[in-house]
């Protein structure tokens, strides 16, 4: 994470993704399909926000007073992601450019806040929010798969099925990604510090 080359690559990719998402044709291509909308566009915007947060650490640090233990950042990200899983909000984003702009901003801010919170949060707080996100995404994913009717006016039932399966996969990925990223903290890999403590 801290290697300069990797950091630079992340910034370049995030910048390229942000430019791509600024193109209406790219947004249209993603948003025309429910699964691409939720499982490609959403994570991309959150990731862009997170990379921006990494590039501007002072802004994140300035909010430290309001984000002890990373509580606010993790909560904000959970709430934003939960909100955009409500089927009617997807329709609203497609129907109104203002709502769609609010979607991009809120997801970007969620990524930014998450990056800042990442520096502050203890393992227990992270486990709580990652677990919370995982069951939320999995539940919504199962509900999408279970629904007989079209949930969104703009998305067909088969796209809904794929989005539902994708959300379940996203729930699993979120948990695994967290465990990998924090492997030292959770004891899945040797921590240099712990070696000394032993």
């Amino acid at each position: 994470m801290d290697l300069p080359s990797r950091d630079g690559a992340a910034k370049a990719i995030a910048l390229a993704a942000a430019i791509a998402l600024a193109l209406p044709a790219v947004r249209h291509g993603l948003e025309i399909d429910m699964a691409r909308h939720m499982l490609l566009e959403f994570p991309a915007v959150v990731a862009i926000g997170a990379v921006a947060g990494g590039a501007a650490p002072r802004i994140g640090a300035a909010f430290g007073r309001y984000d002890r233990l990373g509580l606010t950042g993790w909560l904000l990200a959970s709430l934003v992601l939960g909100y955009w899983m409500i089927p009617s909000t997807l329709d609203a984003a497609l129907a109104s450019p203002v709502v769609n702009a609010a979607k991009f901003i809120s997801l970007g801010v969620a990524g930014f806040a998450l990056r800042a919170a990442w520096q502050r949060s203890p393992t227990a707080v992270e486990a709580f929010f990652v677990g919370n996100f995982a069951w939320m995404a999995a539940t919504v994913g199962l509900l999408y798969q279970d629904a007989q009717a079209q949930l969104c006016l703009n998305y067909l039932a088969d796209g809904q099925q794929r989005a539902g399966r994708g959300l379940v996969a996203a729930a699993i990925c979120a948990g695994v990604a967290w465990l990998v990223a924090r492997r030292r903290r959770v004891g899945l890999a040797d921590s240099p510090r712990r070696r000394y403590a032993d």
Partner: protein, 211 residues
């Protein structure tokens, strides 16, 4: 954790509370106080609470003539309106047969006098008067009680769909998917209630109760 994170917890609790309140407000607004998770549910609740005005609409009928909706006919108390396209093979077929049953009920029930049916096509490119006439014949639509028509201009169609909150999308197989329902419209153009397709009896009962 380590000491750099120490400090009063109160500002964080305030920020957390602010986030929760803002999220609850946003979610409540999006779901009409947590009663509707889909746009279609929200639309039905919204219309029942606050009827939606519909502009006057010029339509082309199966015989090729034009007329205005929704008030042109003095004896009409309410319209039961569905949106369809004549090539539709799935939902619209059951929709047609439900309207067939409704037409029979209209004839036999004196309390339903003044209630009329309207099947409005959102596919004017294919639904020429000849296609509309074919649809009328297929379901035995009696022109006196069941209007089969399509808006006369693309602009009128777009306005009608947007005022009613109907979204028509490509189904990827050459047809369309749309939020099918029975819309109760009273002259001179107010959408007052929306019923699920299988609730056609209740829709008729509701329309019959309109004075």
């Amino acid at each position: 954790m380590s000491t750099p994170h120490a400090g009063p917890l109160l500002p964080t609790l305030a920020a957390v509370t602010l986030c929760l309140v803002a999220a609850m407000a946003a979610a409540s607004q999006a779901t009409r106080e947590f009663r509707a998770w889909t746009t279609e549910e929200a639309r039905r609740i919204r219309v029942a609470e606050r009827p939606a005005p519909l502009s006057e609409l010029r339509v082309t009928m199966a015989d090729g003539s034009e007329r205005a909706l929704w008030s042109a006919q003095p004896g009409t108390r309410a319209w039961l309106v569905t949106f369809m396209y004549t090539r539709c093979a799935s939902v619209c077929l059951s929709l047609g047969s439900e309207f067939q049953q409704l037409q029979a009920s209209l004839r036999s029930s004196p309390s339903a006098a003044g209630v009329r049916l309207a099947s409005i096509s959102f596919d004017p490119a294919h639904d020429t008067p000849a296609a509309l006439a074919g649809y009328s014949r297929r379901f035995g639509a009696d022109p006196d009680s069941w209007l089969v028509a399509t808006p006369s201009s693309a602009m009128a169609l777009e306005r009608l769909l947007s005022e009613a909150g109907v979204v028509v999308i490509d189904d990827g197989q050459g047809g369309y998917a749309h939020n099918a329902a029975i819309h109760v419209v009273v002259p001179p153009g107010r959408l007052v209630r929306i019923f699920a397709m299988d609730r056609h009896r209740e829709a008729l009962e509701f329309a019959s109760g309109i004075r």
